[in-house]
């Protein structure tokens, strides 16, 4: 006789998801997961969003996770369902997004037999997940699900995959609640107090300091962002943010120097180059940030706070490392600062700010306007000014439009900027916006896109319409793979190899074909009207902006160059200098 709490695997799975706080699953059914979908049908605790491609399910879960701080949840079938999800998992791994991805698998007795829709997905995803599991016994299922959520959200967050053979979810077993599961995975969250005291000493004595803040602070949560802002304001030191860190301190704060790196501002990059103390909180010295390592901030001492010990001394050797969660470390830093009654060197700081203001005065994001052609920078600036009062969530695809969005939009709140930073996944924005809108039904959610990127997951328009998700998609159409064209113009002698797309769908008609609204602007004086109309509609909208095809993103640190060797604009002659290949390394 069955024990009273004996359930089948699919029931155990859904019970575990509910106990883990899951509200929404993004997924796509198929043979191996039919028993799970059957249980989904019988309950109403978990909502399910039916995507049109499994990659989009993962990006949607990323959007959900990054805008809420919760773990995103994905359910796809075996074989092609699982392999289609791989790009999304790699994206989440690069950008440290907490996900649990459930994949169907052929029954255990068929594993290894090249069965129909079989793929070794734990093997395939080993390098692009934080961890993965193959469940072989239904009595391990609840424990594994609880542990997977713990692993996904603890330490440096990341995607975790659970492979579920069909016979396992059909057989009967016992449920274990989360309280019964003890995980051995316990990352360090408190920073070493001795190191924190030393850091405070260095910070108080700096003459040309800069805070270099990354996505680790965003991942650490709203409290970490508040503490970060508090600490920056207490010191009065300048602060730059990485692409992943935008929103960690308010974009409108005068202490914020703008984004740094390849397309960062002059003031941010020059201050990084000339500083005497760099205080890295939750950033990872990515190659898009550092440029040429030999020329990277040569005169500075460096402090690095990171929850992941493997991020420390990976690319750049630092003078003081603190392993811990940003919120905990910042809290201790502020405590020590107050306890020691630290004072900054006012005179030195004044001189430093005078220098920074000089760089700021160059107004590196200025661009030449036009009354004939829509400049992409102009479109983004107007979008910002017309929507800022609603604190929109902004998602992007990947390319020039992404960089312009990062440069011209200011984020006063964390968790409102979602972009594929590490992997650089074209097609990220639309499904990610879908996930954000699911979590925040009344918010204004905008996907800033290029005409090429949007076509990588355009099928999700149908999902938006089916689930009544009023996402606004703004396509900056310049007829080119813009960033590819820019590199070809600047680095490959103007040979535009396969970067020109000569045929595009009519995006207005396409929107209508999906049952959404399509709008178009072709001239600068139409931009405001179209954006206003877009905001007035309570349905998914595609706005197509026909923009100047020749615009490039500036400033730009050319590959192989250092922070103080930026190209400022099309007139800047230094762009003709070839970048050096560092120690024989080919720079990408």
């Amino acid at each position: 006789m069955a024990h009273h709490d004996t359930l089948n695997g699919a029931e155990i799975l859904l019970k575990a998801l509910v106990d883990q706080g899951v509200e929404v699953i993004f997924g796509y059914p198929g043979g191996a997961v039919l028993p799970i979908y059957d249980e989904l049908f019988k309950q109403n605790r978990l909502r399910h969003v039916l995507v049109r491609h499994e990659q989009a399910a993962v990006h949607a879960a990323e959007g959900y996770a990054r805008s809420t701080g919760k773990v995103g949840c994905v359910l796809v079938t075996s074989g092609p369902g699982a392999t289609n999800a791989v790009t999304g998992l790699a994206d989440a791994q690069c950008d440290s997004v907490p996900l649990v991805c459930l994949t169907g698998q052929v029954p255990t007795h068929l594993i290894g037999n090249d069965a129909f829709q079989e793929a070794d997905i734990t093997g395939i995803t080993r390098p692009c997940t934080k961890h993965n599991y193959l469940v072989k016994d239904v009595n391990d299922l609840a424990r594994i699900v609880h542990e997977a959520f713990h692993v996904a959200r603890s330490g440096r967050p990341g995607p975790v995959l659970i492979d579920l053979p069909k016979d396992v979810v059909q057989s009967k077993g016992e449920y274990q609640p989360p309280s019964k599961v003890k995980s051995k995975y316990k990352p360090q969250v408190k920073g070493d107090i001795k190191a924190i005291e030393k850091a405070i000493d260095m910070i108080a004595h700096a003459k040309r300091p800069i805070f270099y803040v990354g996505g680790g602070v965003i991942n650490s949560g709203p409290a970490a962002c508040q503490l970060m802002t508090q600490f920056v304001r207490m010191t009065g030191y300048p602060c730059t943010l990485t692409l992943m860190g935008l929103g960690a301190i308010p974009g409108s704060d005068p202490l914020f120097l703008g984004m740094l790196g390849m397309h960062g501002t002059v003031e941010a990059n020059m201050a990084m180059h000339d500083c005497d103390l760099m205080i890295n909180i939750g950033a990872r010295f990515d190659d898009r940030v550092t440029g040429k390592l030999e020329g990277f901030s040569p005169k500075s001492k460096k402090i690095h706070v990171d929850i992941d010990p493997s991020s420390i001394n990976k690319n750049v050797a630092v003078d003081l490392a603190i392993v811990g969660d940003c919120a905990h470390v910042l809290e201790d830093m502020i405590k020590v600062w107050k306890a020691k009654q630290c004072r900054v060197d006012d005179k030195a700081l004044k001189t430093w700010w005078k220098q920074i203001d000089q760089w700021r005065g160059m107004d590196c994001l200025a661009f030449e306007g036009s009354n004939k052609l829509i400049k992409p920078q102009y479109a983004i600036k107007r979008l910002y000014e017309l929507t800022r009062h609603r604190n929109p969530y902004i998602c992007t695809e990947v390319g020039q439009h992404q960089m312009w969005a990062a440069q011209y939009l200011k984020f006063d709140l964390p968790h409102h900027w979602l972009t594929s930073g590490g992997l650089g996944t074209m097609g990220y924005g639309l499904p990610s916006a879908m996930g954000v809108q699911m979590a925040h039904p009344d918010a204004l959610v905008i996907d800033i896109a290029g005409e090429a990127s949007i076509q990588m997951n355009i099928q999700e328009m149908a999902t938006l319409v089916q689930h009544r998700l009023p996402v606004k998609i703004v396509i900056l159409n310049n007829q080119y793979l813009g960033m590819v064209r820019q590199w070809q113009e600047l680095i490959h002698g103007g040979r535009y190899s396969e970067s020109h797309m000569t045929h595009h769908p009519d995006f207005v008609k396409l929107a209508e074909a999906f049952g959404a609204v399509g709008l178009r602007a072709t001239k600068p004086d139409e931009v405001d009207g179209v954006f206003k109309e877009m905001m007035a509609v309570d349905r998914p909208v595609i706005v197509e902006m026909l923009t100047d095809a020749s615009e490039n993103v500036f400033p730009m640190i050319m590959p192989g160059m250092a922070h103080n060797e930026m190209v400022l604009g099309p007139e800047d002659k230094s762009r003709d200098k070839p970048g050096s290949e560092e120690d024989g390394m080919v720079l990408v």
């Binding site: 961890h131 193959l134 692993v151 010990p309």
Partner: protein, 170 residues
């Protein structure tokens, strides 16, 4: 800069859950990130706790070796990572089975050398021996080199196992 730094050999002991896929995770980490593996051994060491011990001999600059250890620690089933090379004195041993085929004077000479190396003959026919030799990698290397002209036919080595000297476990 990094690349001009000296490359050094390190012996790393890793305690892991003995579960399916754990070795693939460790090896995949090395191949995916371009680290060297000079030798790798693995076997269960605690049946009750289901723990295996992996001994890896790798080489790299100090910064790379630090990376390797930190990347290993990131793997969920990895519990302990110890760099025996820098943490104090340790002993490292390797076992090799060496097949030597010869007759006459060469056969006698191979036995003589085996005696010097304290290698045991664990299989013999009229025209062959299998020797078992245990020692540091350099000793095993030397033994095999000396057997080359004496009819060396086949070699099977375990790779290095290592443990810290003194009373403390890892």
């Amino acid at each position: 800069m990094i690349k001009h730094e000296e490359i050094q050999r390190h012996t790393i002991a890793v305690l892991v859950d003995n579960e399916s896929g754990v070795l693939a995770r460790v090896i995949g980490l090395f191949s995916g990130r371009g680290y060297n593996i000079e030798s790798l051994t693995v076997a269960e060491v605690d049946a009750k706790e289901k723990l295996s011990r992996i001994t890896i001999v790798t080489s790299g600059t100090a910064m790379i070796v630090e990376q390797i250890k930190n990347q290993l620690r990131r793997l969920i089933p990895v519990h302990k990572v110890h760099d025996l090379t820098i943490e104090g004195p340790h002993v490292a041993r390797e076992l090799a089975l060496v097949k030597v085929c010869s007759t006459g004077e060469k056969r006698v000479e191979s036995l003589r050398i085996a005696d010097i190396f304290r290698a045991r003959a664990i299989d013999s026919t009229n025209e062959s021996f299998v020797f078992e030799v245990v020692g540091a990698t350099e000793k095993v290397d030397a033994f095999i080199k000396l057997m080359e002209p004496l009819g060396l036919a086949d070699v099977s080595r375990t790779g290095v196992v290592a443990i810290a000297r003194g009373p403390n476990p890892i």
